[in-house]
């Protein structure tokens, strides 16, 4: 308890009895969201398509607008599916970083999809806005090779440290081990 709180508590003894069930009070300031192309998802949720320069700014604006929780962050490699539908003004690139945010107070979701070019697969890290993206950004880096600039510990998380390549990229083969069944006849 800070000294200021203690002073309030001393002045009004009932003030420090708080209802423990009330969630974190987030006073949403007037939502000022940067203008980026948007569309609506199948569940009616909002999908925003910022470019890399406005990505962190937009997510921070959502954070200030009451989206307390970053539920998920993942990356997608669109190498073999370039003709996907995107709103006007969004140039498709090979990679896409997808962030799902949740507002607990408004009970609604929003999705942020940012295009990441193949030549320079890097986006700024969200770790200053949502510390919880730590493991998710490491996973996206590990499996798809998208760099998150500013992440304090961008190392492999699931694959061995000395692994080469990023397995979830579309040009990374699945790999097969030939199986010789016990009773299978040999080649004729």
């Amino acid at each position: 308890m800070s000294p200021a709180d203690a002073a309030v508590g001393a002045a009004a003894p009932s003030a420090d009895v708080q209802d423990p069930v009330v969630p974190v009070p987030v006073a949403p300031p007037p939502a000022f969201l940067p203008a980026v192309p948007r569309s609506a998802g199948s569940g009616g949720e909002e999908i925003a398509f910022p470019d890399r320069a406005h990505y962190v700014e937009l997510v921070r604006a959502y954070r200030n607008a009451g989206f307390e929780l970053c539920a998920d962050l993942c990356a997608v490699d669109y190498l073999s599916h370039p003709g996907r539908s995107l709103p006007d003004g969004v140039e498709p690139e090979r990679f896409e970083v997808v962030v799902n945010l949740v507002s607990l107070s408004e009970k609604r979701r929003v999705r942020v999809r940012v295009q990441v070019p193949e030549a320079e697969p890097a986006v700024p890290s969200l770790i200053e806005v949502y510390p919880g993206v730590d493991a998710m950004e490491r996973e996206a880096f590990d499996l798809l090779g998208v760099r998150f600039e500013g992440h304090p510990d961008l190392t492999r998380i699931l694959m061995p440290e000395d692994w080469e390549g990023h397995p979830l990229r579309k040009d990374y083969g699945v790999g097969r081990v030939p199986v010789q069944f016990k009773e299978a006849p040999g080649p004729r």
Partner: protein, 461 residues
Amino acid sequence: MTDPTDKGGGPGDVFVSAGTREVPRIAETSEGAQEMAPRPATDPTELRREVGAVLRLPEGTVLNTGDIDIERRDDETMIINMGPQHPSTHGVLRLMLELDGETVLRTKPVIGYLHTGMEKQGEELTYVQGSTNVTRMDYLSPLNNELVFSMATEALLGLEMPPRAVWIRMLMSELQRVSSHLMWMATNGMDLGSTSMMIYGFREREMVLAFFEKTTGLRMNNNYIRPGGVAADLPDGWQDDVEIICETVLARSFEYDELLTGQPIFRDRTEGVGNITAEEALALSVTGPILRSTGVPWDLRRAMPYLAYDQLDFDVIVGTYGDNFDRYSIRLNEIRESIRIIRQVAEHMPPGDYRIQDAKVTPPPRARIDESMEALIHHFKVFTEGFKVPEGEVYVAIESPRGELGCYLVSDGSSKPYRLHIRGPSFVNLQAVPLLLRGGLVADAVAIISSVDPVMGEVDR
């Protein structure tokens, strides 16, 4: 006036009141005859000596916290490695702990020992085969994995399930929650030294798994909830089986209360251990019982209802302090709430189809194959080629026993997912472990890891 229930307060309390002091008794102990005074007659010095003995401090020494030098040099800390083969890490979780004496300073969870590339494999399997893949992620609640994958696929297809399929899914999902929480109670009890709880938890879980075997054919990794409904209707007499499970587990959950909830050793090991605040939990994207233990009533079944949870009457259990004991209480009470839900579902189970009668995703009935060439071709096509899913992307989330279980599914219009990403609650919740362990004792680390309830199959995928 001496209150026999008064256990005494601080060292300044007066324990002896004139006139009521009884004659000291002499007890024969292994160390010879010892004088035993009744508890109300224990004077402060003696009590302190007792406490000191319990803490294994030299007799008469009282630890003065002001004497501890906090400003220690870095080279006096040491880093130890716990796991990945440690029996209390719930699989293959490895923790690197930096210790100052017995106090944990920093922790780094090291994961990936169970990584089998299931997301990559999911791109190679059709939507029909996909549920056999995702069910192996969180192996303690496989039906929830199938549910979220099926719901994501159906959202892309734009299908609406028949009511009976929805309610069967709810029934199975809640039974799965009961079995998962029972398993957690069992392993948590074992981590805290209560091997009886381990036996009891597994015993009750076995009843649920037996019902799963009867319904789905398998005890786990059921592949029961599939895109388009469920694989089979509930077996005859399922109401009786479910009622027996509800009755037994509910009655025994009160036995757990007697065994653990009021037990002083259990409470000492859990109360005030591994604290986290609501702000910290939200910042670290933690969901499920850990978030609810901080007092945030966030349960997707209530907050963003899926299936038909908005038609049911149940409570969201929240804690206050965000410690191990709150997480224990939440899971114990969620078992009871799930039983409440299961009883309502069993009562209101609607009749009708258990899977959608859409020729696109549902194979024809087995009997039709014998008489119709088209049915045979259709059946063959569904299971070899699969069905095509329109292009698009969707994120669907459900409340698994461990938190928000999400599925981000991208389709390019073919019969295989273009990208299948599972947001595993255990994977994200593990980020809270360094925070929960910080400043605690290394002996509490096992209890705290257990209270996070990580399932490594889901963490590593």
